[in-house]
């Protein structure tokens, strides 16, 4: 039984928590970082990193399969899941090692164990009391299910999906959001039959509608099936597989059902409510500066309602550390945070969709332009189709960038600066983008929106 005192105590060592800790020590604060599992949290161990390793194996499989088209003679002999796993685990292990080293080198005190908030300044970890002048809650999220839908056996979440040691013959995926379409894409590339079940009318329903439609077309071409606009009713399983029944009575049979219907906040039983913190359906409610209703207690990352993304967690963490240090950092709204979905084709966006911009600024106060990647040399070379859609305020800034196509995730940094800096297409037009890149397609779209398309009408 001991008591340790810090300027800042961070509960949870995932993207949000460790970013807060790293920035806080940089600013001269002493930090205690409490983690019950592994530093790096969901993103490093069960999320971003391992899924992107799988997606790269999937890309390699597709490239190998289609190599003849490029004049490369290869014979594709299937997937070696054991090697896929070795690759995935190797990537995670090396990043984990790097992160542990960094956290140590920066002088953060890591406290291993499950913490419970017992007062606005105190976290109890087993016998130990950890006291901070400020406390940051960063306990992250877990895979949710639907009422009455029990996880187990052949009904799995992303955690189990990641670690499968075989390629299923046929998978049903419940949920056509980011996690659902990413796994669907991987499995399809690995040779499985896949059916996605999405209750809303479109795949990736949080994206621009034209992007959703293009993804649906691309998935159909890839042989990924989907059911849209009809809700899940029930699932049964036996030794041979699962049968999913939808509300219209139709059924989907498969080896497995992946449940990817969203993530809840991991806050139950951690004492937040008891200390008086406002919690809504598990999520911690904060103001736009990430302060909870209890002075000195902040929340970051997936437990704060909104986008659940690692770099939002990083941003939150850095923000809160700077806020506590009195640096008065600027607020970045969720809307202006870039989103990437790493399926094939890839999706990336930042800012307003056309519909939301019309709502905000008025239909006649915005204009849009959609550049077809068919006009982009590098995209043709890569054999991808897709588009870049921009939304601007008439005679005003670019407020939305929406892309779909192989590798477009790498272009979103430029979109992010443009939207956050409220640039006008005319500001960008003088700077012709490098030829022949996919990046150039973004340049062409800006040129067109500035009224001077180059390689387009």
């Amino acid at each position: 039984m001991s008591e340790q005192n810090f300027d800042l105590v961070v509960l949870g060592g995932g993207s949000g928590g460790y970013a807060a800790a790293l920035r806080a020590v940089q600013l001269g604060l002493t930090v205690g970082l409490i983690e019950k599992g592994k530093l790096g949290g969901t993103c490093l161990h069960l999320g971003c990193i391992p899924t992107k390793a799988l997606l790269h194996s999937a890309e390699v499989a597709d490239v190998s399969r289609e190599s003849a088209k490029y004049g490369v003679k290869t014979q594709f002999d299937g997937i070696d899941m054991q090697a896929v796993t070795t690759f995935r685990e190797g990537i995670v292990a090396s990043k984990f090692k790097g992160l542990q080293g960094l956290i140590k080198a920066r002088g953060i005190t890591v406290i291993a164990g499950e913490g419970r908030l017992v007062s606005p300044t105190t976290v109890q970890v087993g016998e130990d009391t950890i006291v901070g002048k400020n406390v940051v809650l960063a306990t992250g999220s877990y895979s949710r299910s639907l009422p009455g839908l029990e996880i187990g056996g052949r009904v799995i979440t992303s955690e189990t999906a990641l670690e499968l040691d075989y390629v299923p013959r046929k998978v049903a995926v419940l949920g056509g959001g980011v996690i659902g379409v990413e796994f669907a894409s991987v499995w399809r590339s690995f040779g499985a039959d896949v059916t996605i079940i999405e209750a809303l009318p479109h795949l990736v329903p949080n994206e621009e509608e034209s992007v959703s439609k293009q993804l649906e077309r691309a998935f159909r071409k890839r042989g990924i099936e989907y059911s849209l606009g009809i809700r899940f009713q029930s699932v049964s399983q036996d030794e041979s597989g699962v049968v999913v029944t939808l509300e219209n009575g139709s059924t989907v049979e498969a080896d497995l059902l992946l449940v990817a219907v969203g993530r809840g906040a991991a806050t139950a039983g951690l004492g937040f409510e008891e200390v008086g913190i406002t919690v809504d359906r598990g999520f911690v409610i904060t103001d736009e500066r990430l302060a909870t209703n209890i002075p000195g207690v902040y929340a970051v990352g997936d437990i704060v309602p909104g986008l659940q993304l690692a770099h939002r967690g990083f941003q939150h963490g850095i923000f809160v550390a700077e806020e506590i240090a009195g640096l008065n950092p600027i607020v970045v709204e969720d809307l202006n945070i870039p989103k990437v979905t790493y399926c094939d084709p890839e999706i990336a966006s930042v800012g307003y969709s056309e519909a939301k911009a019309a709502e905000k600024f008025g239909t006649d106060k915005i204009s849009t332009y959609e550049y077809n990647l068919g006009g982009n040399g590098k995209s043709s070379i890569l054999g991808t189709s897709g588009s870049i859609k921009l939304v601007r305020v008439v005679d005003g800034p670019i407020v939305g960038v929406h892309m779909i196509g192989a590798r477009v995730g790498e272009l979103i940094g430029e979109g992010q600066l443009v939207v956050n800096w409220e640039a006008y297409p005319e500001d960008i037009a003088p700077f012709l983008h490098a030829h022949p890149t996919q990046n150039e397609a973004l340049g062409e779209a800006f040129l067109a929106l500035a009224g001077k398309p180059l390689h387009a009408m």
Binding site: L27, A423, Y424
Partner: protein, 58 residues
């Protein structure tokens, strides 16, 4: 522990890069302007307004 640093932002012209670039192109000196944007940021409109101001005021 490393020293708490102040953001070097103080030395940075108080506007966004594209607006600063526009000001350079138009020959508007940002140091002459008071920003009307959030937290005093100099906006595009501030730059244009300065440009529209009659020469007599300069």
């Amino acid at each position: 522990a490393p020293e708490a640093e102040a953001e070097p932002a103080a030395s940075r012209p108080r506007s966004t890069p594209p607006v600063r670039a526009l000001a350079r192109v138009l020959g508007v000196d940002l140091s002459q302007l008071t920003g009307t944007g959030p937290t005093g940021l100099i906006t595009r409109e501030d730059v244009r307004a300065q440009l529209a101001r009659p020469a007599a005021e300069e």
